[in-house]
């Protein structure tokens, strides 16, 4: 069976697709822990047991690998967020969403930040293709938050005059900033505080 590589358009065998996926997943993990700049192709090859020829069969360059990692991490994060936000239609549900993110980050003492935010921080200034892909991914994530706020508005919980898109964007900013503060301080507390304060602001806009 042959598959098509979504990035290069080249045809891959099922085995080739598995090799490519393994390289991308391993690179994503290494870049999350060590950072993008500090992760070399040799690191990835060592972690996957792949050869250089296998690597360059799938990726023209290290930049191509980074873009594939952006795509992979983005889809993983969005799948998680669709699962956790998809049925949220109450403020309590939004607080449970917050609890899950803070708890997950607390397990690592905030050490690595948001997987998508950390990538954005490192690559946006150097790779315009990656920046545009990240912009689209964050827009989709923000859209999920806006959908929650729209449901709150439809249920009469949030005032009708509130701009849900703008509020969702602000909440996303507080979330990403919270992750970054937690990463710098190796302590999840500022992340918890910033999301709590942002949610308190949303609650202050309630219709009742």
């Amino acid at each position: 069976m042959t598959l098509t590589d979504s990035h290069s358009g080249r045809r891959l065998t099922a085995r080739g697709a598995k090799t490519r996926a393994r390289i991308v997943a391993s690179a994503a993990e290494l870049m999350y822990v060590k950072g993008v700049a500090a992760t070399t192709v040799d690191d990835v090859l060592a972690a996957t047991g792949s050869s250089k020829s296998q690597f360059y069969h799938h990726f023209k360059s290290r930049e191509a690998l980074v873009r594939a990692v952006v795509d992979h991490v983005g889809q993983t994060v969005l799948a998680r967020e669709r699962e956790s936000l998809g049925n949220v239609s109450t403020l309590r549900g939004l607080r449970r969403w917050r609890d899950a993110l803070v708890q997950s980050n607390a397990l690592r003492h905030g050490a690595y930040g948001c997987a998508l935010g950390a990538l954005a921080s490192e690559v946006s200034d150097h790779d315009d293709l990656a920046r545009k892909a990240l912009s689209q991914l964050f827009a989709e994530w923000r859209g999920l938050l806006a959908d929650v706020l729209r449901r709150l508005q439809a249920d009469g919980v949030l005032k009708s005059e509130v701009s849900v898109d703008q509020l969702a964007t602000g909440l996303m900013g507080a979330l990403q900033g919270g992750y970054m503060l937690a990463q710098a301080e190796r302590d999840v507390s500022p992340m918890a505080t910033s999301i709590d304060m942002a949610l308190a602001h949303i609650e202050s806009l309630s219709a009742t």
């Binding site: 930040g113 900013g173 507080a174 900033g177 301080e185 500022p190």
Partner: protein, 157 residues
């Protein structure tokens, strides 16, 4: 501490010391947004370096302290001691000022990152709208910035 951290803290120390009311906080906001939207500014460079640097934590802690003091002054200006109610006393709670300072810092970092990625000041403005809601005038909201203060206009590089 790296040069960019030292430079930004020196500017913020002087600037935030002058923030005593909502109008002052609104002016502070406009200036910081202008700085953050210039990719090579000391502010943008400093925030990019925070996660990578051991000095980043000290930078954040110091800036948060300056913000907390400014927030306390702004809140005090609206709830002078002689007319302070129980709710007013809560406003003056140091912890509340600290929490607002954390949210402001988060908005600058997170909103700033999203704005860099989108190449658009809107996410930074939206994040600051939330963080500064208790502390700025309604005209400080996104879209009501005077033309000569908008990012991209009349800036010194």
């Amino acid at each position: 501490m790296t040069t960019h951290f030292v430079d930004v803290l020196a500017i913020e120390d002087a600037a935030l010391a002058q923030v005593t009311n909502r109008e002052d906080m609104t002016r502070w906001r406009r200036r910081v947004v202008r700085e953050l939207m210039r990719p090579q500014s000391r502010y943008a460079t400093a925030l990019r370096r925070v996660p990578d640097s051991a000095a980043g934590r000290d930078f954040l802690v110091t800036w948060q302290g300056l913000l907390t003091a400014a927030v306390e002054r702004v809140l005090s200006s609206e709830n002078p001691p002689e007319v302070r109610s129980a709710a007013g006393r809560r406003h003056h709670d140091r912890r509340a000022a600290d929490e607002l300072a954390v949210l402001i810092l988060a908005a600058l970092h997170g909103g700033g990152l999203l704005s860099r990625v989108a190449d658009d000041p809107a996410p930074l403005e939206a994040a600051l709208d939330i963080a500064l809601a208790p502390l700025t005038t309604p005209s400080a909201r996104r879209g009501s910035c005077p033309a000569d203060e908008r990012p991209g206009g009349n800036m010194n590089r």
